[in-house]
Symmetry: C2
């Protein structure tokens, strides 16, 4: 073999070697940040405090995109709004496969011990189950409801995994909660539980996997289902503060239920259009009190210590600020200015820092959770949701 | 170049390629199981349900060995009894470096954002701080106490990381809790808090990182420190059941405090030599009640749902059994026979399964947390502690 061929062979091997180099850091401290307008994911390492130079692109319409992770941390799965589920290889940090489950989807969850991805869909309404390895569609449940003697399609939202190898979701027009057995090949719907009120629009599960909470349009009450006793049905929980006079014509609006925080003895509920957090008792679900805030809250995020909840706001005058709530005294202990139009916040797993995206300022901030100093800033394009791989180890995420 | 040389080159490249192959599964679902008598770690994947054929060996005396993980999941650090800290490469699953910090150590913790390993030591008594990257010793605090006008060495135990970038440990002969600032290069001891009672022998931190609990030899009371208000000092909490008549001559013995479970509204304390769990109130630390058991409890382990606690036992007649406690009704709901001399248990992160080592039977079991069926068994040599990488994302582990 002459030197030219030899060089060619070396180049091929060299390239392969480069492609499989042992990375200098692991996957544990990586967070994926949705860049909404460019349909891409940025990758930030909060230990190295470095943004990876390359983006993961071609991920579709990323409004309300959610990302879940396989239990072995081999893959992430990003559900776009356009029905696209993108698999991300967590070692290579690149797009590894795509499957379209519908025309319009809203949410996804991982179950069956990590073998199945389930997506909740608006058009056509239903739930699709995808093999997490092959990305093949395994099954599909059409969601319908009866209206004046006709069967009509219903949108589905709020899909989560729950203890006992189940998926849980809610039918918007159908006003029905579904419990689905994720361990069986045909994913049978084991329970169909009416939500009592109409127009559910979103749902969440508490971090212990016990309570499934459904929000309703134009209602001041949420439906709460005890997943350890689903046959008991839902109960209605009010978010009204009995001490406040309401204009009964103006509906109570609720933000996405993923914005609720469960911490200490309380559940903290940001109320759209009001300048307060509603605080419910974690055990009884009874209204405890309101916490007055500087503006209209959007997200309440708990620290892993459960000792603090950090709140973001809507509205130009407030959306650059975060207020820190002490979960024991139920008071505001600090107000921090971070960056304009804060979209998302998440604590690092041992509560040392908070990651915050400011969409208008196009920045990701790393804020010290103790001193409240901004310790790092990186530039991103229209940053939105923040997803750390530790979600793999938490029920319902 | 002739064919022989060409083959040699290929072999080298082939070997390198093999060495850096992308593994078929990720690190998230791997658990490291201490094989006590052989000084080795076995690696089991609970998703693939496979034991890796190769052991990681040469790790020293692994009695009471503990393993911690770097926040980026690049490394694990195993503290042996003989003062050896072994770094495990989590991608290659092999020994990557060793440092000896003392002649006899008991515990380790990771702090400073993953940059520092701290080990608690018996001989010589103190705390050693090691650079997590270079494995160099960065600093050392000698632990001493005053006895009849003399300064004598004290053993140190129960080292954990705590919110606020701190390490916490306790001096056995010194009867003093140390709070250490992990963010400063010389690791200053910021608080030295007397434990009131003598002879602390072990300690634990609650999963929210708030309470540091110290057990004392021959005492029925533990010292509890609120780490958010350390200047307030410790309070004494009794584990006696007021309804039980005790022979005051027989001391209450407590097992290792890592065996306590904090779940739901309660703290579950296994009491050595008694056939009950003591249940304390999670808020007030007051004694609530006893739960009668089939034998003498050793470990109480909570499910991530906090809805159940699983209890193991000592004594030939009981040590093959696990009892399941409902944390709401505070009753035993099931008794499961697993394997002889159960040493350790841990739930998988989403609460689907429990990993259990049976030392006498030399087996690791994967038990379904819902059906209580044994779904997988692998043979190990003298298996003991079980350490999943998700510990990287939990305060105090």
């Amino acid at each position: 073999m002459n030197w030219k061929r030899w060089k060619a062979v070396l180049a091929v091997f060299g390239g392969l070697m480069l492609g499989c180099q042992t990375p200098s850091s692991g996957i544990g401290s990586k967070v994926f940040v949705v860049e909404r307008e460019t349909g891409s994911l940025a990758v930030y390492d909060f230990v190295e405090r470095k943004l990876l130079p390359r983006r993961i692109t071609g991920l579709g319409n990323l409004r309300h995109a959610t990302m879940i992770f396989s239990p072995d941390l081999r893959y992430g799965y990003l559900a776009s709004r356009g029905g696209q589920v993108s698999r991300i290889d967590l070692q290579k940090l690149e797009l590894d496969g795509v499957v379209f489950t519908s025309e319009n989807s809203i949410d996804n969850a991982i179950g069956g011990g990590g073998r199945v991805i389930a997506t909740a869909e608006y058009v056509p309404g239903g739930v699709t189950f995808v093999d997490a390895q092959t990305l093949e569609v395994l099954a599909r449940h059409e969601a319908t409801y009866e209206h004046e003697g006709q069967r009509l399609p219903s949108r589905v939202t709020g899909i989560v995994d729950a203890p006992g190898d189940r998926f849980v979701c809610v039918l918007i027009e159908g006003a029905e909660i579904w419990l689905i057995d994720a361990s069986k090949p045909d994913f049978p719907i084991t329970h169909r539980i009416p939500t009592d009120q109409d127009n559910p629009y979103d749902a969440m599960i508490t971090p212990d996997g016990r309570w499934y909470v459904v929000g309703h349009m134009k209602s001041d009450r949420v439906s709460v289902l005890d997943l350890t006793r689903p046959e008991a049905g839902i109960r209605n929980v009010s978010l009204r503060d009995p001490k406040i006079d309401y204009d009964r014509k103006s509906p109570v609006k609720l933000p996405h239920l993923a914005s609720w925080a469960v911490a200490g003895q309380s559940i903290f509920v940001p109320l759209v259009g009001e300048d307060r957090l509603a605080v419910l008792d974690r055990q009884s679900w009874e209204f405890k009190r309101s916490i007055p805030l500087r503006g209209h809250p959007v997200y309440a995020v708990r620290s892993p210590t459960e000792r603090e909840v950090w709140v973001s706001f809507s509205g130009e005058e407030d959306d650059a600020f975060v207020q820190v709530i002490d979960t024991e005294s139920l008071t505001v202990t600090d107000t921090i200015e971070v960056g304009r139009r804060i979209y998302h916040m998440d604590f690092t797993p041992r509560a040392s820092h908070v990651l915050i995206t400011a969409n208008e300022d196009e920045k990701l901030f790393l804020v010290n959770a103790i001193t409240h100093e901004i310790e790092d800033v990186v530039e991103l394009e229209s940053p939105s949701g923040i997803f750390g791989v530790w979600r793999a180890f938490r029920i319902g995420l």
